[in-house]
């Protein structure tokens, strides 16, 4: 995170988790991103990559200043439609940081093996496994090969 003195409080972690559940809500197979316990991963990645660290800090800062959240005892205590409205406001007012923040949530969510299993993605590195594909079969050229050469002579 760019501002080295900035660290997340327990309250921030609660808010982050609640926000993550809104960004990627529960599906038929899995709970939401926050409920899956991925806030810690998001915090870790944000600590490694400035771009995401700054986005996370700005978004949490902005949510802590959100008037309705202050009145009600914190973002996590708001009704769901109020939370969504607060996020939508950030999305239009803080385009760049919100954008990176959503990327951060998606990155940790779609790095998780449980999610890979759910969406049918083979987890792990691409190599050395690769994929088997049938070798090129020239019979597929039958139609296009019949065409007269049409490149422009000069």
């Amino acid at each position: 995170m760019p501002e080295s003195e900035w660290t997340m409080t327990e309250a921030d972690r609660l808010v982050l988790s609640a926000v993550m559940d809104l960004i990627v809500p529960s599906s038929d197979a899995l709970p939401g991103a926050g409920e899956m316990g991925l806030a810690e991963k998001a915090e870790e990645l944000a600590g490694q990559i400035d771009l995401y660290g700054e986005a996370l800090r700005r978004i949490l800062d902005a949510l802590s200043l959100e008037p309705s959240a202050r009145a009600e005892g914190g973002f996590a205590a708001l009704e769901e439609d109020q939370r969504i409205a607060a996020l939508k406001a950030l999305e239009s007012n803080m385009v760049k940081h919100f954008d990176k923040f959503v990327d951060l949530v998606y990155i940790v969510y779609y790095s998780d093996e449980r999610v890979h299993e759910k969406v049918g993605w083979r987890t792990g590195p691409l190599q050395p496994r690769g994929w088997e594909l049938p070798p090129f079969d020239p019979t597929i050229l039958e139609t296009v090969s019949k065409r007269e050469p049409f490149w422009r002579r000069v």
Binding site: L126, Q127, V144, E148, W151, R153
Partner: protein, 536 residues
Amino acid sequence: MSITHPPTDILILGSGASGAAVAWRLSNSGFNVVCLEQGRWIKPAEYPNEHEDWEIQARTNWAFDPNVRGLAEDYPINVDDSPIDPLMFNAVGGSTIHWTAHTPRFHPSDFRVKTLDGVADDWPLTYDELEPFYDAYDELMGCSGINGDPANPPRKERPMPPLPIGPDGERMARAFDRLGWHWWPSDSYINSVPYKGRLACNNCGNTGLGCSRGAKGQTDVAIWPEAIKNGVELRTDSRVFRVETDQNGKATGASYYDADGNENFQPAKAVVLAMNGVGTPRIMLNSASESYPDGLCNSSGLLGKNLMFHPYAMVSGLFDDDIKTSQGALANMILCQEFYETNFSKDFVRGYTYQVARSSGPISTACGYMFGRVPWGADHHAEFRRRFDNVTVLGVIGEDLPEEHNRVELDPKLTDSNGIPAPKVFYQLSSNSRRQLDDAIANAETALREAGAVHVLGTALLKAAGWHLMGTARMGDDPASSVVDRWGQAHDADNIFVVDGSVFVTCAAVNPTPTIGALALRTADYIDRERSDLKS
């Protein structure tokens, strides 16, 4: 104080697609060659494909965009005045580490656009003159493909058969057949079978991030080992800041910073610039001197100007069948050149190629690359499912015409980690290119629907698409309207050569690297034949 090295015959700046080819060719003929490269060697085990977090690395320390990576060996680029971001990689192998190795050739007509269509300029050479060097570069890098393409002239047998086109490629090919449109298996510098001690591709899918199998034609594995065996000294972590010249304007060598930040001078009989279409004009502009007040060899005033990018549109078809579209080399299945040549009934000149490409992993799908991000919130899962592992992309490569206002300059403030001025890129999409892309988007939708796509999403102009950097030190016969001659030799100094995409007069509607490599080999051949004065 500057460290001065023993002199060499040929000093090459940059170790990518072009610099490596020149080093190999001239060292084969007994020239002493030193190459300065600002980056380092990358070990195959470092490539993201070997790591679980490869998709995260693709967006951070392995991003295509040097401004996102921000590594010490990268230089920043000011893109405030460009809707397209230049992309490149800085290491031994240059951008061939990152490239997807899709390797079509220019068509004969591409060298004659002024004569044929009355636009831009003709090249000072023909397809026929370049053909043997295309063949040689194909052989060197390892080309997979097949003869018989009706859209291109007949040519020598490729060293390897085509890569598998996969069920997704077949689906698209059959759609083109039904429409009566051209298509052909893509030429690729990717091994379809083992080649010269390198393994065959195993279709892992992520070609754009370095191939740890050595199956992709990257110059660090395809060319450098042999060049080094020939005696070339490849000096890494060496960042050039100026080409030095004498009072007659001839090059005496180049000054650079080593890894410890010390200034070094490498004297040479000739200097070959191969730092790509942005890096080369940057260093030439930074080499202004008494002999060259406006930048090295810039008597024409055209250094840095006429930047061409190949503006890209991407049209994606979403399918609802079981074909997995992430399996196989990312952008290497088939291409379509039905609309390649000028059609005078249309409202634009020149034409375009469709490069048919695959999809990537779950993070790229969610965060979006070819088209926008999957929305967050209640609709997220349904929309993700619609887009994941079932997308075929028609990438539109349109011919961008050269315009002087599209250019590279030195930024007055921004610098790299050594304090060398960074480039600033100025680029505006021309109305011709816009109309060309719009036509391509409409036709792409027709083709994707014919193939069975249930939804079609398009990106009218991809920002992160400055893969091809061309035109900024153009070649020509007239010193008033070009920076280098037909051999890549500067008009202003007979021992300064440019061999990267900077020399392009026009950019055709195909990926440029086979043409860059062929031109580089041709320049090296010229030096070997005609410039024995440069050999000790």
